[in-house]
Symmetry: C2
Subunit: 237 residues, 2 copies
């Protein structure tokens, strides 16, 4: 009965007030898509997330994903016609916003994010590469798999983002797809989101998507495609 009360205590949100949250459990539940539709990191886990995102653990977690992706990419039979593509997301996938999140007025996902603050960070063009991902990118190019970027970045920031990607070490790609004004935020059952539609167009045009690295909004409707999810407990799409 004690366990039941404790669980319900947490479930009703009373945990914020008193009971202690296990922040590693929270993080894993987020990573596995068990906890969804959350808006901010629980106040109690703010320090945990800030320490995690700047820790060797985060870098090791990224590397574990990268290693799995490299092993998989090396196992593929790549066509010689250059029709094999690998889909990359940008934020917290190829480029890191950790320096932005670490600013006191942003607070590592525990403060509700402001579009304007984030846009001014994007304009600075200073995002570094996410640990390990540049290695995956280079290995894919060596294997003859063409990278493509599909990002929620607005069209108006296309050139800024491209400059930032190059500065971080990502030098060539097949396509760079930004989110246009008519691309919907909405996720549709069966059809997925606008990113799913862009991927479907590529398949229709004769390309083979062999891998996809991103967050939950990038991978959730992909079944036929092997997907990889980057660690990122700071926001939910």
């Amino acid at each position: 009965m004690k366990v039941i009360l404790f669980l319900l205590f947490i479930a009703t949100g009373a945990a914020e007030a008193g009971a202690k949250i296990n922040c590693l459990s929270w993080r894993i539940a987020v990573e596995t898509n068990n906890i969804r539709d959350w808006k901010t990191v629980p106040a109690q886990c703010k320090s945990y997330v800030s320490e995690y995102m700047t820790s060797q653990q985060y870098r090791d977690d990224c590397n574990a994903v990268v290693i799995a992706a490299i092993e998989y990419a090396k196992s593929l039979n790549i066509s010689k016609e250059g029709k094999d593509l690998w889909v990359f997301n940008i934020d917290e996938t190829t480029l890191s916003n950790v320096p932005y999140y670490s600013r006191p007025q942003v607070g590592f996902g525990a403060t509700k994010s402001s579009g304007k603050k984030f846009e001014s960070w994007i304009k600075e063009g200073k995002s570094p590469a996410v640990p390990g991902v540049l290695l995956l990118y280079k290995i894919l190019l060596d294997l003859g798999i063409k990278p493509i970027f599909i990002t929620d970045t607005k069209e108006e920031f296309r050139q800024l983002r491209i400059a930032n990607l190059k500065k971080a070490g990502y030098h060539s790609w097949f396509k760079f797809i930004c989110k246009g004004k008519n691309d919907s935020e909405l996720y549709t059952e069966h059809k997925g989101n606008w990113k799913t539609q862009k991927r479907a167009e590529l398949v229709k045009a004769g390309y083979r998507l062999v891998g996809n690295l991103g967050g939950w909004d990038d991978i959730i409707v992909d079944f036929l495609l092997r997907t990889f999810k980057m660690p990122n407990p700071m926001y939910y799409f």
Copy 2:
């Protein structure tokens, strides 16, 4: 370059021999389905996994999933016709095999599992409930959602498993579906595995599946259904 060499060192399996694996990174990569098709826990992570599976962290991780599932279940509009079902897997979902995995000859997933050894454990009928899941089960019954079990357990063990479920506190359910001789191990693109087919039959018969708690093999083809994955770094389907 140092990073590249280190990563490749791990990627080629040389890590087993020398380099240290970050076992938490390995566990998260398994939980997020980034590392797939693995057969045994890496030798270096055997103690880590044995400590984890018997720790408060594992119980907290289970509880985090259960809390998310309860919150979701409470948000549903349940029909009065008793047509709403919740799918439960058994092993490491409703019943725990931790006492079995903890036996020296089994070694918490680091030793290749033997079907015979596992079957003799099933015959003992001593699996306890997985932490927190009994609470979810009771709340679902209270809400008018009927539990159903879909399990890889062979038909010949049906009665043993039912007795074990009752002993562990799971007293009533709508259906208990075991794996028959003709149910295939194979996972088919688009159509999923035999469990997907059993779920589709229920939907065709007019039931509404409102939730599904299990491992990757239970949840991977479900998009229209909200899914929950239990923590379990001990084996991969």
